[in-house]
Symmetry: C2
Subunit: 206 residues, 2 copies
């Protein structure tokens, strides 16, 4: 695999490099503090101290406290992956593939963070809220892709409902994963979820 990393190759100036470093420092500080104190008990001031920046800088990098936790850099990757799938593949298979890629990357790069994040998604309402926002955003991406694939208008009620229902289902997978401490089989969970989304509920009664 030829460099499957989040971002860019352009020769990045010193300024940019510093920015990335601060960004990372803030996120690392946040994760560490949350691990040992919990989310609410962790204040922006503490984060700033630990990351060796001023509180104002923290806000310059992340609009809200929740964003420090949930922001990641996979969206462009996902989008690319989404567009790269063959035209005749069913949406479920496309999603299966895309989700698998995203999960693999995320789990490989920073496994504890991935877990912590999904745990916070169940435990802290504010974080959950922010996650749903970003889920809705991804839903909009998804419906663009599905529009091309299905020939439906991207803003038709049908497509919108469909995309959001898929995202809702996938979000539930994350919660389920966090609640029932399953280990590495998130991907299996995703597969099962996509089966449900594709074929509907397999009820006991016919």
């Amino acid at each position: 695999m030829a460099s499957v990393t989040p971002a860019e190759q352009p020769p990045l100036g010193l300024r940019e490099r510093k920015k990335i470093k601060t960004r990372k420092a803030i996120r690392a500080a946040t994760y560490a503090l949350i691990e040992q104190q919990g989310y609410d008990a962790t204040t922006i001031e503490q984060i700033a101290d630990r990351a060796e920046v001023s509180p104002s800088t923290v806000f310059r990098y992340f609009p809200t406290k929740e964003d420090i936790v949930i922001t990641d850099e996979w969206d462009p990757v996902i989008l690319a992956e989404l567009r790269a799938r063959p035209d005749d593949e069913s949406w479920a298979d496309v999603l299966r593939h895309v989700m698998r890629t995203a999960l693999d990357l995320s789990l490989a790069e920073e496994p504890e963070v991935t877990r912590l994040r999904s745990r916070l998604g169940v435990e802290v309402p504010a974080v959950r809220a922010r996650m749903m926002e970003s889920m809705a955003a991804t839903g909009r991406l998804l419906r663009e892709a599905l529009a091309e694939r299905s020939g439906l208008a991207p803003d038709s009620l049908e497509l919108r409902v469909f995309a959001m229902s898929v995202m809702g289902g996938l979000m539930e997978v994350s919660h389920y994963w966090a609640e029932t401490g399953h280990r590495d089989d998130v991907r299996e969970l995703v597969d099962r979820a996509l089966d449900v989304l594709e074929h509907g509920l397999a009820t006991g009664k016919p």
Copy 2:
């Protein structure tokens, strides 16, 4: 119809009556202020003033500002309706019926509020977040009902995913309704959404 109103019949004491009045006053004040100033510009203090209570009282009645906007009293009604449907009805029909009842009630009782609420759902992130929370809660109700109906465990991944995906789809209907100023045909929108959720996307290609 014999009194299809949110709540109770027991002879309510003066204390209870006052509580209900204050609650209503706070909500009314909030809606009025938001109509004329917008959500963010409206502070709790203003709401308290207008409702002729103290700010602390406002917080006593509603945990957050968003709750003042989105709280309603239909959940018990919905739940009852959900359980009352015949056993052999398909989940889609059950939902169709329940949603229709809820919408009819809500639109009949306070049409402007219903519209405003769904508008705020698109415009104000915090409100949207709170709506999704309550949507998730309703999703849990839904999956209880679906569990009885389908024979699946209420906390099985499959059922959870299914319920949340349905709720996601329905939430999108509300957003769609708010964005495209459709008039009275929310119910038609719901019908179309449920068709999608039941049968999947009707794509252009076979």
